[in-house]
């Protein structure tokens, strides 16, 4: 009897230690994946580097965004650490795109001694962590949480991406100015903050611009696999452009289902559409001709973008999306602000918070996702979106 119990206990210990090994081996390739030349600069000594933390969905349905942001930030941190001067120590924690887990992840980072925060990658979790960073006086700059509630009423919360409402109105203006379509259909996800925020402002702006919306259909979590009803409605109403304010997974299904229906309008997406080309099991040919507004273009030929894209491809074997670029910019914006403020890593998070608020509201920053970016006191960034179209499986500038 006792033997059985003992063997069960031993089995448990063994499985746990195996799992522990699994964890270790996972970390090793990730580390060796970082360019070997930078081994020396990889982990700056204690107290000499700014502790930079962020939460994002590293696992689960939205993992593509969290991992992209993490990787983009990691590349920036490695580059900056190799330059000398300001040093960073980056740590990302998984929040599975959930507010509760994001706060847990944030608290883990706080225990670690985080001085500067990259907020959270997705909107709702970032709203929750923004309340925490505000209460704890830790400065936060989110790469991609775009809802207005994220920054509302918080003086130390800044965004690197556009706010959702701006995306909606910018899309409507763009469509109307370029004459891309006259009869617009919208398919949106009515239980998603991001989708709803863009939809509402798009509709409001479209009404002002006399853009006719002929079909306005929704879907939600759980019924997001069959879009035949929505597409049939758009087709029946002769829509010549379909606006898709959503993330790329449902968009990929819409594109393939429209293709099998033989419906071929113009497609217009938003920055959540980014990532569709690298999605597993999706035929990029279906996304041919899809237009989207995004601040980052991986095919741009300026030195900074080329260097970043090459580095990202070398390390992770895929083309970086807008989230990676935003996170990369965040780290560089921090570098610029810290240098200008003369901040040192021995300062407390609270001291750094005051300095960063001063810097971010007064500085101008040039990054991958825009030139001459400025921030106002609400934390919103001002930069101009770029229109992109997918041609031969790659983004090409529209203008």
């Amino acid at each position: 009897m006792k033997k059985k119990f003992l063997s069960l206990l031993l089995a448990m210990v063994m499985v746990l230690s195996l799992a522990a090994c699994g964890g270790d081996t996972e970390e090793t390739p990730a580390e060796s994946g970082e360019t070997p030349a930078e081994e020396g600069s990889e982990a700056p000594a204690e107290g000499t580097a700014f502790l930079l933390g962020g939460t994002g969905p590293l696992t689960g349905g939205a993992a593509i965004y969290g991992n992209a942001a993490y990787r983009g930030a990691q590349i920036a941190v490695d580059e900056i650490n190799a330059m000398g001067g300001v040093q960073f120590d980056l740590r990302y924690e998984d929040d599975q795109h959930d507010a509760e887990k994001a706060v847990n992840a944030y608290n883990v980072l706080k225990d670690w001694g985080m001085q500067l925060s990259l907020g959270s990658v997705t909107s709702k979790p970032c709203e929750a962590t923004a309340a925490e960073t505000y209460a704890d006086r830790i400065f936060a700059l989110t790469p991609s949480a775009s809802s207005t509630a994220t920054t509302e009423g918080k003086d130390n919360m800044f965004q690197m991406c556009f706010m959702d409402p701006n995306q909606g109105s910018a899309s409507a203006t763009y469509i109307s100015e370029k004459g891309l379509g006259t009869k617009v259909a919208i398919i949106w996800k009515n239980d998603d903050v991001y989708s709803k925020g863009i939809h509402d402002t798009f509709v409001a702006e479209a009404a002002e611009l006399n853009l006719a919306i002929v079909s306005d259909t929704t879907f939600a979590d759980g019924n997001d696999t069959d879009f035949s009803v929505q597409l049939a409605d758009a087709q029946a109403n002769d829509a010549d452009l379909v606006f898709l304010p959503m993330y790329y997974q449902p968009a990929s299904l819409i594109l393939s289902q429209a293709n099998s229906m033989g419906y071929n309008p113009k497609w217009f997406g938003v920055d959540g559409m980014d990532g569709i080309l690298t999605m597993e099991g999706f035929d990029p040919a279906l996304a041919e001709g899809v237009m989207l507004l995004t601040p980052f273009n991986a095919d741009a030929t300026d030195d900074k973008t080329v260097a970043f894209v090459t580095e990202y491809q070398d390390r992770y074997g895929e083309t970086p999306n807008q989230f990676a670029a935003d996170a990369y910019d965040c780290v560089y914006a921090y570098k610029q602000a810290l240098e200008a403020a003369g901040a040192t890593p021995d300062m407390t998070a609270e001291e750094l918070c005051d300095l960063m608020i001063q810097q971010f509201t007064s500085m101008t920053f040039d990054g991958l996702t825009g030139e001459g970016m400025t921030w106002d006191a609400t934390g919103a960034v001002s930069k101009s979106p770029k229109g992109m179209v997918i041609e031969n499986g790659a983004y090409v500038g529209l203008d």
């Binding site: 924690e93 507010a99 944030y106 608290n107 009515n190 709803k196 979590d221």
Partner: protein
């Protein structure tokens, strides 16, 4: 003292042990917080742990004591979260004292959840076993859909509601409180560990008293043999409803506590997965075993956070640990070992 305790019934002794352990845990944690020797990570989890404990204990009332499998418990939590927090926001200026506002919010949340429990109980409790489980599952999804499409705002003219799209047409003084898929934002964090502790204690008192009372015995009689219970004149519908509504009300209060701990809450948080998570707490802790539910809820809330060092393999390790714990707690050898360790049982055996 020992004599006095052993003179009590076994179940009473067990209840006192549960109260004592919960109070002890609270005092130890509170001392750790005051001395600042607790990590922010654990400190941040205390309120959700309290909420999950209440959820587990209340579900245990339905599953363990009443013997009906409910897969929609998160639905009641959702009702409590939305109504309770909306109340707290509306009363922001009327009741400046945060703990009182939270208490009122919880009471309203519990009342609405109880109402939802009553309404759903009418059709559901006519069913048995698997059928009941499926209907509660559907109920949870309905609640999720309702809150995903409900808009509620307040302005100088009072409350405005709309469904599907925001047609509340608030004037300049108005604010939108429930914003459909956006849920509720800008919630003041008024939940505290002390409030959570009080709610856990209230839950235990309510559940233990119900289970120990005449009604509780009737409920358990229905669980053990419905026909026999009916034949001796037990009103099955009444007692089933009593357990179900109590369970729903407690879950509603837990929902308010949980939601008031975060600055934002969305309906999608209270989905099927959350219902199952709470069911896992109950099954792991043992059906009808309240102390077990408490320990399981606390342990399984902390576990995923404690496993963060496994990075990407975290949830896999969590699942493996869960399977092993389930196997271990159901191992007959281990069970008898545990039973021998328990002082009360040993005395009994010696006496025999």
């Amino acid at each position: 003292m020992a004599n006095k305790l052993s003179g009590l019934r076994k179940s009473t002794r067990r209840n006192f042990l549960t109260y004592a352990l919960v109070i002890l845990a609270f005092i130890v944690l509170q001392a750790l917080i005051t001395t600042g020797s607790i990590s922010s990570s654990l400190k941040g989890m205390l309120v959700p742990i309290c909420a999950y404990v209440v959820m587990a204990v209340s579900l245990n009332l339905t599953v363990g004591v009443l013997g009906e499998l409910s897969l929609g418990h998160a639905g009641f939590m959702s009702v409590g979260a939305f109504t309770g927090v909306a109340t707290a926001i509306l009363l922001q200026d009327v009741i400046p004292m945060a703990p009182l506002r939270l208490a009122v919010g919880m009471a309203v949340g519990a009342a609405f959840a109880a109402l939802a429990g009553f309404l759903i109980g009418i059709p559901v409790l006519r069913l048995k076993g698997d059928y009941l489980a499926i209907v509660t599952l559907a109920f949870g999804e309905i609640i999720k859909s309702i809150f995903n499409n409900l808009y509620m705002g307040v302005d100088s003219k009072g409350l405005h509601f709309s469904l599907l799209s925001d047609t509340t047409n608030l004037d300049e003084t108005g604010t939108l409180i429930i914003g459909g898929p956006m849920g509720i934002g800008g919630i003041q964090k008024i939940s505290t560990f002390a409030a959570g502790f009080v709610l856990v204690m209230i839950t235990l008192v309510v559940v233990f008293h119900l289970v120990g009372s005449r009604a509780g015995r009737a409920i358990m009689a229905i669980r053990d043999n419905r026909i026999a219970a009916e034949s001796v004149g037990v009103n099955v519908t009444k007692y089933k409803m009593m357990a179900f509504v109590t369970s729903a009300a407690l879950a509603g209060a837990a929902g308010t506590l949980f939601a008031a701990n975060y600055s934002t809450i969305v309906a999608n948080k209270f989905d099927f997965n959350t219902s199952i998570l709470v069911l896992v707490f109950v099954v792991l802790g043992g059906l009808g075993n309240m102390l077990g539910s408490i320990i399981a809820a606390a342990a399984l809330t902390i576990l995923p956070e404690a496993l963060r060092e496994f990075s990407d393999y975290r949830m896999l390790v969590y699942a493996i640990v869960l399977i092993l714990v389930m196997l271990a707690t159901n191992n007959p050898t281990l069970k008898s070992l545990l039973a021998r360790l328990r002082p009360g049982n040993r005395e009994k055996k010696e006496a025999v």
